[in-house]
């Protein structure tokens, strides 16, 4: 295994968190969170396919305050992962590697994520209340 004699990189806690690092870590965290969301989505499909009561039971949990908070966080995680994923695709294609560009694209990922999260929930509230 590892040769402990070699110089070790400073522990994560010593760094000041640059935006790029924070988004990179968030990409993984949101990925894991979205896995749970995907499983819940399948549970809803199974509920609709099997029993209206089971669907109403899940719906009860998702429409109370805690459930809604989770749904909003999932929406945010979805768009953050999506737009940062697109950022990764640009990097894969060889674009946007300059330090100033990565910071700018990182800021844009967060701005667009907020806009689309608000847009989705705006649409949800508009469509529920009409």
């Amino acid at each position: 295994m590892a040769n402990l004699e070699r110089p070790l990189s400073p522990h994560l806690g010593i760094y000041k968190w640059p935006l790029a690092m924070a988004i990179s870590i968030l990409h993984r965290i949101t990925g894991v969170a979205l896995t749970i969301g995907a499983v819940l989505m399948v549970a809803i499909f199974i509920a609709v396919a099997s029993d209206p009561e089971y669907y109403e039971w899940i719906r009860g949990y998702l429409t109370n305050k805690i459930g809604k908070t989770f749904l909003i966080l999932w929406t945010f995680a979805l768009f953050l992962h999506l737009f940062n994923g697109i950022r990764h695709l640009f990097w894969d294609a060889g674009y946007g590697f300059e330090k100033s560009t990565t910071t700018k694209s990182g800021v844009w990922v967060i701005i667009v994520t907020f806009i689309l999260t608000i847009a989705v929930w705006g649409a949800a509230y508009y469509c529920t209340n009409v």
Partner: protein, 123 residues
């Protein structure tokens, strides 16, 4: 699809395992998920009261069934590939193997369960 250069293949260079296959499929499923996920978010948001009848009627629509089946397949394929990378980074030894097998099986189970449920509703 192979991303290997002809020269590297002729020289027998490169990965001894799947090499670029994992990387490529992660991107392929990601690209497929971009339109699917944006559509899903807004479509679900605009379902209104989300009552059983509303959701059932929506899921019975042919194009919705097609898009959701594609979405479930791409999602769990992408999930399996993504979680695998995370596990390979942080979990080691026999626990790594067990976790990877579990992730593989569970992703297939959830994908099949989701698709069967969607087909049952639609058909």
């Amino acid at each position: 699809m192979s991303l290997r250069t002809p020269l590297s293949e002729a020289k027998g260079l490169g990965s001894a395992k799947e090499g670029a296959g994992h990387w490529w499929l992660q991107r392929l499923t990601a690209i497929a998920l971009i339109p699917l996920v944006i559509w899903l978010a807004f479509a679900v948001a605009m379902l209104g009261d989300a009552s059983y009848e509303t959701v059932l009627a929506w899921l019975e629509t042919p194009y919705v069934a097609v898009l959701l089946i594609l979405l479930v397949a791409a999602t769990f394929y992408h999930t399996q590939l993504g979680l695998q990378v995370i596990v390979e980074d942080y979990v080691h030894g026999w626990l790594k193997i067990v976790t990877l097998i579990l992730i593989n099986f569970l992703c297939i189970v959830f994908a099949v369960a989701g698709i069967v449920a969607l087909l049952k509703i639609f058909l």
